[in-house]
């Protein structure tokens, strides 16, 4: 048997914090050959824009980039479902040699005629810029011909990680925002930004706000509609979830329309409650605050007894958490505490040094903090810290399972609503169903082999 001790790559050492003085670096380009868990800017743009359900999403490039993103996320729509179709220009050799502009033009015109979308998003993938296709010009042309917004998304994968893709998506969205005729703000209104309505989560959040007497103007991009996005400038405040994805859009809205924003997370009792109170505070409305209190009280009164049996079983169990953005990690650390669990490994693909500093303060001393890590490092720390549960995305799942460790999917592909108070209960159930499964007794790690 080989020596399987896993050592950190020299150049990765400062992206890993294992205790002692905090001295991390972050926001670096992934190290070649390190098998980063990150993807590309195209992926970031797809994540943000994908849930817009009455638009078509056309990937300009060779087939893979489209195949791998066909219907991969559980972003639900209450109406049209055009977003669940995958369209690609499927470039062939001759397109690469002679350019793909005319193919793109034909593809767009036919698709718009057939599917009658409210808008079209056209994603540029890696080779598009290199072969010199002018995607913006084609989009403009089709827009004129068809009379709907046709928006080029500057998402060539090599331009950066997901974060750059988020920016490109925000730029694309901002081309639609404000195109509604009416300009004035709607009283007591908000936009919910940065939630993708995975497993219907936005409906849960929206319902809480509506119970508080708040009007939701638009949701970006979960259960998104082009005509709602046109009106986004009419909300009085943007509630922005997640550290990265649509922060730029919020900034643009602030700059152009003076709409301030509040950051929020809907995971866990504490963060969810805060998200409701913050809105009431923003409107400085006593009645609204009382409603918020009522909502929270009712929900928590229902939730706590339901959580109790899970907490009993989960108390003292150890977890590793690795997500795309850093903001979610904070919520997860708190949610797991609510369940009596302790986070011993925490990290994200795209966090900043400040995020990690805060994280190291929030977690217990000795917690391993990881930036842009890879399978080998994750395996190393899962093993060393002897965790009972791993929270991450599908790419992390086999690492956990191979080592005989429970797993909970908290990524874009999840099928369980984990946001809101009800989401906390679902989360507890999901964590419980993995940690408490009897199958681990057979894993070598537990079988004492």
């Amino acid at each position: 048997m080989h020596d399987e001790t896993i050592n950190l790559l020299e150049k990765r050492k400062r992206q890993v914090h294992t205790g002692g003085d905090f001295d991390m670096v972050a926001e670096k380009q992934s190290l070649a050959g390190a098998v980063s868990q990150r993807s590309c800017s195209f992926c970031g743009s797809r994540v943000v824009l994908y849930p817009i359900a009455d638009a078509i999403h056309v990937v300009h490039g060779p087939i893979g980039c489209a195949s791998y993103t066909w219907d991969i996320r559980g972003a639900l729509s209450s109406g049209p479902e055009l977003h669940r179709l995958s369209f690609s220009t499927d470039m062939q050799e001759k397109d690469v040699i002679y350019g793909g502009e005319s193919k793109l033009h034909r593809a767009l015109v036919e698709l718009i005629d057939e599917y009658r979308p409210k808008a079209a998003f056209v994603y540029a993938t890696c080779i598009v810029g290199v072969i010199g296709d002018d995607v913006v010009a084609i989009c403009r042309k089709v827009e004129r011909e068809k009379g709907i917004p046709v928006i080029a998304v500057d998402s060539e994968g090599f331009k950066g990680s997901k974060k750059e893709g988020y920016k490109a998506a925000c730029n694309a969205l901002f081309k639609i925002v404000g195109t509604d005729d009416v300009q004035e703000k709607i009283p007591k209104s908000i936009n919910i930004l940065g939630d993708f309505n995975l497993a219907g989560e936005i409906w849960i959040i929206k319902e809480y706000y509506e119970r508080m007497g708040v009007h939701v103007v638009c949701t970006i991009s979960g259960d998104g509609r082009v005509d709602d996005i046109r009106k986004a400038h009419r909300a009085q405040v943007n509630i922005v979830q997640c550290s990265g994805s649509v922060m730029n859009l919020a900034r643009m809205l602030e700059h152009e329309y003076g709409t301030p924003s509040l950051r929020a997370s809907y995971f866990g009792i504490e963060d969810m409650s805060k998200a409701l109170y913050d809105v009431a505070d923003f409107f400085d409305d006593a009645e609204m605050r009382r409603s918020a209190q009522r909502v929270i009280k009712e929900e928590v009164a229902r939730l706590l007894p339901a959580l109790a049996p899970y907490r009993k079983d989960l108390k003292g169990k150890k977890a590793a958490v690795y997500t795309g953005g850093a903001f979610k990690v904070f919520s997860l650390v708190r949610s797991l505490r609510t369940l009596g669990m302790e986070v011993v490994v925490a990290g994200s693909q795209t966090g900043t040094v400040d995020d990690y500093r805060l994280l190291s303060e929030l977690c217990d001393p000795g917690t391993v903090i990881l930036d842009d890590t890879n399978p080998l490092e994750l395996a190393k720390f899962v093993k060393e810290k002897d965790v009972d549960l791993f929270i991450g995305g599908v790419k992390e799942r086999p690492i956990a399972y191979k080592l005989g460790v429970g797993f909970c999917d908290h990524n874009h592909e999840r099928k369980e609503a984990l946001a809101g108070f009800i989401g906390m209960l679902n989360f507890a159930k999901e964590v419980h169903s993995s940690v408490m499964s009897p199958v681990w007794q057979f894993a070598p790690r537990r079988a004492g082999q």
């Binding site: 992926c43 056309v58 087939i63 090599f158």
Partner: protein, 453 residues
């Protein structure tokens, strides 16, 4: 949501294929101690990993040279060198299998030359791994092509001449880990040493571990691939494959190796042909165990023939797989009303007609098809079943046609890596699955509630 206009669309809608590097990574995963490495930007590697993990539910590390804007301007040489160094340090692989993404191909990186430079610069290092390279531009072919390109590249770069040895080389095609295991068992029973290239059955369907392994164990050892040029014979399980893509043809040209080619052994007739080849090479009759399986299979066919007769099926997947499925369906009385693939060999029709002579010559046989087109074609044909990978689920749902999941990928069931298609045993499983489904439909399509069907 499905349109019914039957127009020809320029865009590919709901693709029925994946990109070439995916196939190459799968092939590289079947070499012992090999780490697949994509030369290009990070996204492709990550997407392909995620896609494969969702099917195999096993670790599938794929390194990337993580292009940035500077690599696009100045070429990816530096990133490749850095990437190789880091992979060697972190994974300690015996082999690195490099496949190229569209971007690397488009900017014209000469990976073979880069590898040569790398090897000569780093040779002083002890134990440099084998570094293999397959050129896999997705704008020139699908995942099925990528798989074959990689297999051919592996053989091209590893096989060497020497005195003949008594063993069989087998190129199995893109089949499941369960299929590979069954092939192993079957070749064992013929009693001649053999080597399956590539064999990812263990790396992609392995046990839970005590310690994390940098690279899952299993796969075909390099030294066995090296011997292929000296094999008594090689068998290539393929039908639509062109000579240019064929690893077996390469061996024939370079080492005059005896080559046998037969389609994927799906169904009795295709499996019989495969067994005849093995009998010829080994000089032994079909082992009793398999003759027994064949007998029981025919018995099952007889017992179930009425349920399958005349039922209409639509088949889709990789071309070779569709050829095998068509042959199987026709021999049990099912009637393919459509055979479709995202691949474009130009030979699908001809191969299907040869393997399944009873098929109605008017049957639409589509190459380069996508799921939207498949949907539009089957709408008036009203098949009773769809048979293909799980990406057909959308279609199954919108048309209300049950889907029998076979091949790759299967993202919505647990059994993907363990689903057996090849040999008499594979045909038995396929037959049972199809027949059970048809019986279930019959039982549930009336209110009577027959408890005997």
């Amino acid at each position: 949501m499905n349109c019914v206009t039957g127009k020809n669309f320029t865009a590919t809608r709901n693709a029925c294929k994946l990109c070439a590097p995916l196939g190459a990574c799968l092939a590289f995963r079947g070499i012992e101690g090999c780490l697949p490495f994509l030369h290009g930007s990070q996204g492709c590697a990550t997407y392909i990993r995620r896609y494969m993990i969702s099917h195999f539910r096993e670790p599938m590390d794929i390194a990337s040279s993580s292009f940035g804007e500077d690599s696009v301007v100045f070429g990816g040489r530096r990133n490749l060198f850095d990437g190789l160094r880091h992979v060697i340090e972190g994974y300690r692989p015996q082999v690195i299998g490099i496949a190229t993404t569209c971007l690397a191909e488009t900017i014209g990186d000469d990976v073979s030359m880069f590898v040569k430079e790398f090897v000569s610069a780093e040779r002083k290092q002890t134990a440099l791994p084998y570094i293999l390279h397959a050129s896999t531009p997705s704008y020139s072919g699908s995942h099925a092509d990528g798989y074959q390109w990689a297999v051919r590249a592996i053989v091209d770069q590893l096989a060497v001449d020497g005195p003949n040895e008594k063993f069989i080389g087998v190129f199995p095609g893109m089949v499941s880990p369960a299929d590979l295991r069954h092939l192993r068992e079957l070749l064992d029973d013929f009693g001649m040493p053999f080597s399956i290239v590539p064999d990812y059955s263990d790396p992609l369907d392995g046990p839970v571990w005590g310690d994390y392994h940098r690279i899952p164990y299993g796969g075909t050892p390099v030294r066995e691939i090296g011997k292929l040029g000296r094999a008594s014979a090689v068998v290539e399980l393929a039908s639509t494959l062109s000579e240019k893509q064929s690893a077996a043809t390469l061996l024939d040209e370079r080492f005059s190796t005896a080559v046998f080619r037969t389609g994927l052994p799906i169904g009795i007739r295709q499996t019989d042909a495969f067994f005849r080849v093995l009998e010829q090479i080994t000089g032994r009759p079909t082992p009793a165990r398999h003759a027994g399986e064949r007998g029981r299979l025919i018995d099952a066919y007889v017992d179930g023939h009425k349920y399958t007769f005349g039922k209409k099926v639509a088949l889709f997947g990789e071309e070779d797989f569709v050829v095998g499925l068509a042959a199987f369906c026709c021999e049990i009385g099912l009637r393919p009303v459509l055979c479709a693939s995202g691949g474009k060999s130009g030979r699908l029709r001809e191969c299907i007609m040869a393997a399944a002579p009873e098929i109605d010559p008017a049957t639409p046989i589509l190459e380069g098809a996508d799921f939207a087109e498949i949907g539009e074609t089957i709408l008036p044909l009203k098949p009773d079943l769809l048979i293909g990978n799980s990406k057909g689920f959308t279609l199954s749902r919108t048309t209300g046609t049950p889907l029998i999941r076979v091949g790759f990928p299967i993202h919505d069931r647990i059994s993907g890596p363990r689903s057996l298609h090849l040999g008499y045993r594979g045909a038995q499983r396929l037959f049972d699955t199809v027949c059970d489904k048809l019986m279930e439909i019959r039982q549930e399509s009336n209110d009577i509630g027959y408890s005997y069907i």
